[in-house]
Symmetry: C2
Subunit: 403 residues, 2 copies
């Protein structure tokens, strides 16, 4: 593997010539490398890794992530049910739960060691307590904290946040697991330096809140943070340091676990932010050229917004970025081509030079790969992933869908 | 029905209070009304209606459309297979076919009266002939014509287009069905007037090309045009005219069939363009408020880009349009709320006024509907549609997925 991960000789590649297009490809060497790197980052930061499975939603990928992690995070109860049935026993449902879904969450949790849910207000807390009483169990809860992203979560400096945390900790029906935040504004970063700032902000708010609560005698077992941009940004910061950089003075002192997810596949957005290289992107869509009109500087591939998602990509970094990166069958980006537009089942490719003659190498029938702008959204559009090792098909993974 | 189509008393609506959220809703009265209106438009234009099923991809909706139509158009071979198995016998696969998929298309076509494929270049024509020889059948083909959209299709004024049409008509392996175009630039219209201009352009190119071919003795049975914006724009033009406005001098003289699809559901984009009213939108996503922070003018619903798609909406008309329209349980838009952002499983709602106090009426646990920006993309994210009549659940429809 090493530098050759994910590369192989196109001429010998029979499988990629025969899969029906469009279809989803996963490069297993890249997945394994990405998983090893994030596990190493967590060890060196001195935090536990709780991988988020929302990007892939399939058991096999979750098992690769779990090799170094005791638990997982999920984005839907459908994922929770699916992974619980496959033997994953410590699951955090990392989206504020709709009160109506609490009985279902409690039921899933009964079959495993722990399903933790997220609350950020009194209505959900009361619903969790009712569900606990009805089922005769204690419900594990995290208090969602806003760290400046402004999405969900209590303001950790507000009196209401303190009151809610005290109530969670004191409730006989609830098992208060601690504080959880998501620095989603890191997706707006333009550089690793900005992601590091987001990382500092992401940890500062819940760590300070946890310390304040502990001073009041409230036990706060966990402080859970970390998105792919913030974790990879800190990885760069620590990579020249000691084997372990956790502990006092460490970048995320006071943090107990991280929950990145996208890193298993990465994507064009993450490469633009500096979280990875394009050669780390492990998910792509295999396509065929279906129309070719060099006179109008246009070729079409048979993947549109239903195979790639309509995600516009990191336009805050590159206003001219396309709807994905056009690559050859090895996954190597093809210079000079731009995926300029998508309709439902068509992807529009043009030569950046404006000279359609540059498209001559890609006639109707030739196959290409598209690296997606946002792998979480693109992967969710496919009911199976064709898994490759050294360019040969070695497995088919089926993600779980719905909610 | 009439003016009350799709409206009902919320207090009596038990089904909408019990469906797990997020989930897809279809208002059957609106679907039926939209289907009747498009059938009437086709009759008055003097053209056949060949509804496109790409928006809903389910048999039940296709049957409602077929009541007034002999055939359908599809956007994937998966749809072709699914509808053929359900008794749909005249299908046009209205995307240029990847040469590799021709044997599969021929196989589907053998089981029904006709599966027509689209070609716009010599490579695909040769592949169609090979597939026909291999299967011992003739393959029905349309020549895709560009009408100014610039996506797929031959330039109808080019010598190459004439040569290709002659070759199709002369091929013993092929059944040349005629010319087909898609005025996709109508989706960039800002008004009905602009859609009418697009409609004129959409028909002019293939009609003139068909006439030129006929002067050379080439038989051109069909001229197939029409998207939802162009068809509805012309409907407005003809609605005060005679019962039939086809024939010489009619808006689309020379056109034989239209292939609109989105009209069955419509969406926020179509309403902005003037193709429909928001009260015609028949597809929506039922959501629950999961987080409420009026102090930061924010509430969150449990539908993000995986339940609604990341389609940014008609920003060319309204730069401040949201990622869908927030509506109450009857489907009535709620003034003053904006769906300002989406993440994977979260929708961010704010008060347009900037005053979060306006969110007080929507606490955690309350249910809302989101009318999608683009129903074709949003519907494709759901594995079932909950079908309502008078607000009561009357059916569950399952769309076909994949390619």
């Amino acid at each position: 593997m090493g530098d050759h991960s994910g590369r192989f000789d196109v001429m010998e590649d029979q499988d990629l010539q025969h899969l029906p297009t469009p279809c989803a490809l996963v490069d297993l060497e890249r997945v394994e490398r990405n998983c090893r790197a994030m596990a190493a980052t967590a060890r060196r930061l001195g935090v536990r890794l709780r991988p988020h499975v929302k990007t892939h939603k399939c058991i096999e990928a979750g098992r690769l992530q779990r090799a170094d992690a005791p638990g997982i995070a999920v984005s839907t109860l459908a994922e929770a049910r699916h992974f619980a049935a496959a033997g994953f026993r410590d699951i955090t449902y990392a989206v504020p739960i709709a009160p109506e879904r609490l009985p279902e969450a409690v039921e899933i949790g009964r079959g495993i060691d722990r399903l933790s849910v997220l609350v950020d207000g009194a209505v959900a807390v009361a619903a969790a307590e009712r569900a606990a009483v009805a089922a005769g169990v204690r419900v594990s809860v995290f208090l969602k904290v806003d760290c400046g992203y402004g999405r969900a979560g209590v303001d950790p400096e507000s009196p209401a946040a303190f009151a809610l945390a005290r109530r969670l900790a004191a409730s006989p029906q609830l098992d208060f697991r601690g504080l959880l935040t998501h620095g989603g504004h890191s997706y707006g970063s333009r550089s690793v330096a900005e992601s590091r700032q987001a990382a500092a902000q992401e940890a500062a708010a819940p760590v300070a809140f946890a310390e304040a609560l502990r001073r009041e005698g409230v036990e706060v077992p966990e402080v859970s943070v970390g998105s792919t941009p913030t974790c990879t940004a800190l990885a760069g910061e620590v990579e020249d340091g000691a084997d372990t950089v956790g502990g006092p003075g460490a970048p995320w002192e006071g943090v107990t676990e991280i929950r990145p997810g996208n890193y298993i596949f990465f994507d064009v957005h993450q490469a633009a932010v500096g979280s990875c290289r394009l050669s780390d992107v492990a998910f792509s869509v295999l396509v065929t050229v279906i129309s070719h009109h060099s006179e109008r500087n246009r070729l079409l591939v048979n993947a549109g917004s239903l195979a790639l998602s309509a995600d516009p990509g990191p336009r805050h970094i590159d206003p001219h970025c396309g709807f994905g990166v056009v690559a050859d069958l090895t996954g190597e980006p093809i210079a000079g081509l731009r995926l300029s537009s998508l309709s439902q089942e068509h992807g529009w490719v043009e030569a950046v030079s404006g000279d359609g003659a540059a498209l001559a190498a890609f006639p109707v029938g030739i196959r290409l790969r598209i690296l997606p702008n946002h792998s979480c959204l693109a992967a969710a559009l496919h009911d199976r992933y064709h898994v490759l090792r050294q360019g040969r098909l070695v497995a088919e993974w089926r993600p779980v869908r719905g909610w």
